[in-house]
Every structure is written in C-alpha cells, then in structure tokens.
Amino acid sequence: MSQMPVEEVERSAEEFRKDVQRLREELAKVIVGHDEIVAAVVTAMVTGGHALLEGVPGLGKTMLVRTLAEALDLTFSRIQFTPDLMPADVVGTNMILEDDSGRKRFEFQRGPVFAHILLADEINRATPKTQSALLEAMQEHAVTVAKKTYPLEEPFFVLATQNPLEMEGTYPLPEAQLDRFLFKLKVGFPDRRDLHEILDRTTRSETPRASRVLSRQRILEMRELARRVPAARPVQDYAVRILEATHPESPSAPAITKRYVRYGSSPRGAQAILLGSKVRALVQGRYAVACEDIRKLAAPSLRHRLILNFEGEAEGIDPDRVIFEILDSTPEQV
C-alpha cells in the first residue's frame, strides 16, 4: 500500500470536517442554540437520510430547514400538511396542455416533492393516504405518476415536523413511515441566554441570512466519503448489541425493555446509528467510528423505532428512558 491514499483520506476527512464546520457556522448565524439538533440535521442530510423534527410551534423548526436550504446550493420546497391535502398536491399531476398549434397533450406538472430539501410541515395533519405518497419519495427517491416514474434529483432530503401537543384531528405516522426517518429529533425550548439572542436577532431591522457554503456536488462527495468511514468489529458489535437489547425477547435486554417494549427497533435502527456515527467520527476528526459515537446517536436513531406496550404507554414511559437504560446496561466490550 502506498502512502498516497492515506494522505488523500486524511485530506478529504479534513475538508469534510471544515465544510461541516462552515455549514454549522452559517446555520448558527440564523438559528440560535439547538446545536445538537443542527448537528443531527446536518448528519442526516450528509448521510442521505431524512429527519423528523418534533416540537411545539415557534421553536424554529421551519426556520432551521429554510436556513439549511439557503446555506446549501439546493432547491427547497415546503408543504404545509393539512387534512385536505391530496397526494397529487405532494408529488404532482398530469395536466392537459395546449401548444401553439392547438394540439393538446398531457404534461406532468411536478409537485413540491421535486426539490432537494423538502420541508413537510406538520406531517401528521395529512391523511395517511397523503402521508404514504411521501413514502416512495423518501425510500426510493422517485415518484410514480400514471405508471411513469420520475426520479428525484439527489440529494433529496425530507425534513418533517410534527407538533406533539395538538393531537386532535391528526393522523399519527404509521410505524412503517416512521422507520423511514433516519432520526427523530426532539426540539426543546431554548434557554434564557438563547432566548435573548433570538430576540436580539429577530427584532432588529436587519434579519440575518445564511450564505451558500456548500454546492450540491460537494454534498454528494461528502455523502460518499462518510460512507467509507470504517467501524471496527467490536464497535459495530456494540451497536448490534444495543439494537438487540431493544427487543424484549432478547436475553441481553434489560428489565425495562422486557417490561415496557412491545417491539424493538428494526435493523434500520442500527444502520441509522452507524451511518450517523460515521459522520460524527469525521466531524470529530477521527477516521473510524467509536463507541462514543454509537452512544450519542442511539437516542435519535432508535426513539421512534421502539414500540411501547400497553403498560409502557399507560405509564407514559419515554422511549429515551428505555434507550438510556439500555446504554447503561450494555457494556462496550464483551
């Protein structure tokens, strides 16, 4: 093995770290606080996954996504999900158009899904039929209308938001759709310092705006690089053991899992952990995944993939609590 590839890797990794850092700095010009949320959103975007943001209105979820789109040289669409929203409103529809010669023809009018970054605002307010229209787009990165498939341009990144409080007239996302989100992020209320900062920035005459820092091509390169980050078998084994521990029938499951969990995470959960960890490793200046990365990414990757049983629901058990106990009870090394 020559020395060149290694140095190339080191240089690429360094550029990756700097690009991500630049992007986060740019986002920070507009978004106050929420560092972890920003980092997770960037991670999800780099890995090619989608993120579900959960939080009460007014916490800056939409602003975050819009700022992200501004900072990247990417197209951005926003769909406000409502109960009367139809699938065609999302993916688009064939329309009859008449040309100059008077001939009429069908032409596919692309819906808002044809964008690099799609903000699906209050996704749980649409009917399941409309929600499922987003499924193909999220999973296949393509939409099919009238037996014709239209691929979506890469990168395609869906950021959905939902309000956990107003549950009346909502349609909770089915498990299959939830599983398609790489991370579920909980947007919390900002602290006092951040609130001051928010007020300072948003009540002046000038509203700060983000500049474009990354091109579409660069994002695709970064995605490619992140997937090349290796994970040593003991580290990967740690992720696997954590995933196993989410299943109540597993011998390594802690008591809380056995008591409150009906179904554990699918393998997509481990995939999400590992992919997110790879990005985090690069951002942290490492060339391999560490157990610390696994621990950090476990909660956003698994919290929407755990299905609690009746007892868990009745007692209001937070899936995060189950995940943290799993992390406590699972040793890094066997």
């Binding site: 093995m1 590839p5 290694v6 190339e8 890797v9 080191e10 990794a13 090349r228 980050v229 290796p230 994970a231 040593a232 078998r233 003991p234 580290v235 942290q284 490492r286 060339y287 391999a288 995944v289 560490a290 157990c291 610390e292 990365d293 890094e332 090394q333």
Partner: protein
C-alpha cells in the same frame, strides 16, 4: 504503517494489568495468610502447636501470596482488553481498540490505515501509567493491622506452666474446685483425728496432706497418689478393723435376757439399744446396790437369774460363733482339697483353664486369709466377752449365795469390761466414719482428674464466692429482708405465710381494688361444663384507685424460721450464725442416714460434696 507505537503501548499496558492483578491477589491472600499465621502463632504461644508446625505455617503464609501473585500474573490478558483500558483511561475514543482490530485485517483500506496512523500518533504521547495507574490495594490497611498484631503477639510472653495447666484438657494435675473439695475432706479427716485423739489417724491425715500437696504441684502422678493412699489406708485400717456388729449382736441378746427381770431391766434395755455407756452405769449402780445390800432377797434372786441367763446366752452365742467359724474354715479347706483334687485328676489343658484354676485358688486363699483375719480380730472381742460373761456369771452365783460384797466386785469388773467394750465400739464407729471420709476423698480426687471444664470451674468459683457471703452478691429478695430479733443488723428473709409480713404492702382506699380480676367463688359442678366463665377477662382495671407504697418495720418475735435461714443463706451466703446452727443439725441427720442407709458410693460423694459446698463460711 506505523502500528508499532500502538502495539508497544498495548504490550506495556498488558504488563501493567498483570502486575495490578498480581498485586491485588497477593494482597488478598496476604491478609488471609497473615490471619492464619496469627492463629498459628497464638496456638504456638499457648503451646498447642509445635514449633515445627509453626514454621510450616509461616512458610505456607509466605508462599500463599507469592503463589497467588504468580498465578494471577500468568493469567492471559487479552490485547483488546488492554486497548479498551487505554481508550477509556486516556479518552482516545476507541482509537487504540479500533486500530488493533484493523491491524488484524489482512487488507485494511485507506481509511483504516489512516486510522491506524492516527492511533499511532496518539499512542506515542500516551503514558501507560496514565492508561493503567497501579494503586495500593485496599487490603493493605488490613494487612498492616494483621502484621502489627503478629509482631505484638510475637513479642508477648505467656506464662508457660499456667497455660499448660489451663489449656491441656487431660492434664495430670487435679483441677480447682474438685481439688478444693478434696482438701476440705482432708481437713474433715484432720478434725476427726483431733476429736478422736487418735495419733495414728493424725499421722494418716498428715501423710494424706503431704500427698495432696505433691499431687497439686505435679510431683507425683494421680496413679502414684492413689497407690500410696491405698497403702496408707490399708495400713491404718488393718490395725483397727473388727467385726463389731457381731459383738453388738451378742450384747443385745444378752440384754434381752437381762431385761426380763426387774433389777436388771434398765441394764438390759441399755444393751438392747447399744447404749453401752448407760449399761456400764447400770452395772455400777447394781454393784453399788449389791455392795450396800440394798437389794432384797427376791430382787437379788431375780438379778442373779438374769445375770446367769445373760452370761449363759453370751457363752452359747460364742460357742455358736466358734462352731460357725470352724465350719467355715473346714468348708474352705474342703473346697481347697476338692480344687486340688480336681486339678490333679483333670489337669488344665489350655491356658485359659490354667488361668481359671489359678484364679479360683487365689480366691480360695483370699477367703481363707480373710477368715483367719476375722478369727484373729474376733479373738480379742471373744476374750472381752468371755471376761464379761465370767464376771456376770460370778456375780450371779455370788448373789444367789448371798455374797453381796463379792458380787458387787464382780459387777464392777463387768462394768469395767463393759466400758472397754464401749470404747472399742465407739472407736469402731469412728473408724467407719474415717473409712467413709477416705472413700469420699478418693472419689473427689477421681472426679478432679475427670474434670477439666473451665466454665464449670468458673461457675463453682462464683458459687463459692457467693457462699462466702461476699457483699453485693445477693440479688433477689433483698427488699424482703428486715431486722430479726436474734441477730440485730443481720438481714433475714420473711416468707409469706410464715408469720412474716411482706416488707412492702399495697394499700388501697377502695376495698374492691384488691379483688380485681378475681372471679366470684363457685362450687364446681359435676360433669363437663357447657359454657365458659362469664367473667372471662376479669373486671376492668380500676385505674382510679389511690395507692401508695408503705414500708413496714420488722416486728418482735422468735426470729427467722429454719427455712427462712436456709433461703437467706442461699441468697446472701453461708456466713450467718443461724445458718451454722441449722447446718449442724442437718449434717448430723445426714451422717446418721448415710451410715444407716445403703447409699451408693457415687451418690454418697454428691451428698458429701453438696454439704461441703454449703458449709458455713467464716
């Protein structure tokens, strides 16, 4: 590839892990070994463990931690574990662990190689001591304490003789309280010698005292002691023994003859009751009456007849006894002849038969010797009886012939003879007492050899201390003591129902308060009842009753009863004058019963031992 620093760091940390394990195991085992050696040293100091065994224990105590440390150091340490320790301790985010995993791959990709290079960079600046600091094991404090205890115990000196005696359970020396009992019995024997004014018994007690001292100091063994005691006893008793019961029996029968006539009735009654002193006095009185011619002819005739019959009866009894002894002698001689004849005709074939024959011969010889000894002992009594009989016969003849003066002289001679016989009988009784005391002494010493339990000895010591009437020993019933009439200042126990009154009484203002909880008295019916007592739980307690404690002064009277004295002694010790009186009365009864009844020797010991323990203390 630059993996050398990673591998070197892992190697160094593996060595440190082995060292840490060895130290931990060694410290744990060292505590165990030190504790065991401490026990061994203590046993050795108490002379319960030989020096060689102690050295073995010391060697084992040294080897145990070393062997444990070696075994712990030789245990395999996985490189992955060492790498993980480094990552965790130095915050390297699995750089070393992942690098090790990538190094084991045959074709690591560029990212893996970049990672290994990164790990090597971090490993170069990592100190294994930071990765695995070796601390002093927590057991070291306990070990230090144990070592200090070992040194202290090593310096400490135990008194050798005392410990030997105290801890050897089967020591040849007699132990505490039983030995005390033996000494008490020896003192009793000395008192008896003093009372009897018997120089031989006095010598015997001195010799026994000397033997006891030698036994206590360990100069002679118990076996030697018993042999010498048996020798002394045999020597002493050989001079004194005789068949005094046969003599008494003859006198009783002659007394029956004398009791038939009025002038000699008192004399006869005294003889029948074995009261030889009174018999002597009666004889003297009869002699005086004869001398002063106070007996009328009829009385003289009656007395002569009675004396004649008594003499005749004595002669007849002596003849019978002689015949009996001769018959026994003959029978034994005949048995011996038969035995010899049998041996001649059927000589013993086996060793067992020979032994049996020899045993029979020896037994026969022993019986013959006993018979001869008995005959020899009886001869003296026979002579005394013959003299008495002759004197009585002479007196009878002289009375019947009206020779009052000579009759009086014969009667005086008979009285003198009676006095000598009485002295002999008295001595015989005392001899019996001496024999019993010697038997008790032997029993006490036998038990002293068997006893070895310190706890019992301690309890006995406590009892003896309490029996001595030490202040503060009494526990129960102290408030029940009050001044008695006979012994001012001395507390005595008043028992309920014995004329005494409880020192503290409960006085109530309400008459009903005294009968609380009591059911009304009813006559029992016939058969099984069908209902329970309606007043099952008794009347409700009347808390409103006014009561006060009143102390009552002792009242004048006859003083404590005997049972009060005994109860008081049990609580306060055996050092009161009243108790001494009670004890003396009881011991006299006990002595009489012990001599009269067939009390087994073992039980006799316990009775004697008990009375020794509750003996009044000065």
């Amino acid at each position: 590839m630059g993996e050398a620093p990673v591998l070197a760091l892992i190697h160094r940390v593996r060595l440190r892990i082995r060292l840490a394990r060895a130290l931990a195991v060694a410290a744990r085992l060292a505590v165990l070994a030190a504790a065991l050696f401490l026990i061994a040293l203590l046993l050795a100091k108490l002379h319960l463990l030989p020096l060689r065994a102690l050295l073995g224990c010391g060697l084992l105590a040294l080897m145990l931690p070393l062997a444990g440390a070696l075994a712990a150091a030789c245990r395999r340490v996985a490189s992955e574990m060492a790498a993980k320790r480094i990552d965790l301790a130095c915050g390297l985010d699995d750089r070393i662990g992942s690098a090790l995993a990538f190094l084991r791959l045959q074709t690591p990709d560029p990212f893996m190689r970049a990672h290994i290079r990164d790990a090597a960079r971090h490993a170069t600046g990592t100190d294994p001591r930071t990765a695995l600091p070796i601390h002093s094991p927590p057991e070291m404090r306990g070990l230090a304490v144990l070592v200090a205890a070992l040194i202290a115990l090593g310096v400490l000196r135990f008194p050798e003789r005392h410990l030997r005696a105290a801890y050897l359970p089967q020591a040849s020396r007699a132990t505490g309280s039983e030995m005390e009992a033996a000494r008490a019995l020896a003192r009793d024997l000395e008192e008896a010698a003093h009372e009897l004014k018997d120089p031989e018994l006095n010598d015997l007690t001195k010799q026994i005292d000397a033997l006891l001292q030698k036994l206590a100091s360990g100069d002679i063994t118990r076996k030697e002691f018993f042999e010498k005691l048996a020798e002394l006893e045999q020597r002493y008793l050989a001079q004194k023994e005789g068949d005094f019961e046969a003599l008494k029996d003859k006198l009783r029968k002659s007394g029956e003859a004398l009791a038939k006539e009025k002038p000699t009735r008192e004399l006869g009654q005294a003889l029948k009751k074995d009261d030889l002193d009174k018999a002597k006095r009666e004889l003297d009185q009869l002699a005086q009456q004869a001398q002063q011619q106070k007996l009328d002819p009829a009385a003289r005739k009656e007395a002569a007849r009675a004396l004649e019959q008594a003499a005749e009866r004595q002669r007849r009894l002596m003849d019978e006894e002689q015949k009996k002894a001769a018959a026994q002698e003959r029978a034994l001689a005949e048995q011996q002849r038969d035995l010899e004849k049998l041996a001649r005709e059927n000589p013993p074939k086996s060793e067992a038969e020979k032994r049996r024959l020899e045993d029979q011969k020896r037994e026969l010889q022993r019986l013959q010797k006993e018979n001869r000894d008995r005959q020899a002992q009886r001869q003296n009594q026979q002579r005394q009886l013959q003299r008495l009989s002759r004197n009585l016969a002479d007196a009878a003849q002289q009375m019947s012939q009206g020779q009052s003066g000579q009759a009086a002289q014969s009667l005086q001679q008979a009285a003198g003879e009676m006095s000598r016989i009485a002295q002999q009988l008295q001595r015989a009784g005392e001899m019996q007492r001496v024999k019993v005391q010697l038997a008790d002494l032997k029993e006490a010493l036998r038990r002293a050899g068997q006893q070895g339990k310190e706890g019992r000895q301690g309890k006995m010591g406590q009892f003896l201390a309490r029996a001595g009437g030490k202040p503060g020993q009494g526990k129960q019933g102290e408030q029940l003591f009050m001044e008695g009439e006979g012994q001012p200042g001395e507390p005595q126990l008043l028992l309920p129902g014995q004329g005494g009154k409880s020192a503290v009484q409960l006085e109530t203002d309400q008459p009903g308060a005294q009968s609380q909880g009591q059911t009304p008295e009813r006559q029992p019916g016939e058969g099984i009842g069908s209902e329970h007592d309606p007043n099952l739980q008794g009347a409700q307690t009347k808390l409103a009753s006014k009561k006060r404690d009143v102390s009552v002064e002792g009242k004048q009277g006859a003083g404590p009863t005997r049972s009060e004295v005994i109860y008081g002694a049990a609580d306060k010790g055996f050092a009161t004058r009243s108790y001494k009186r009670v004890y003396t009365d009881y011991t006299q009864v006990v002595e009489e019963v012990m001599s009269r009844e067939q009390v087994p020797l073992g039980m006799r010991y316990f009775v004697k031992r008990y009375f020794n323990l509750i003996k009044p203390r000065e």
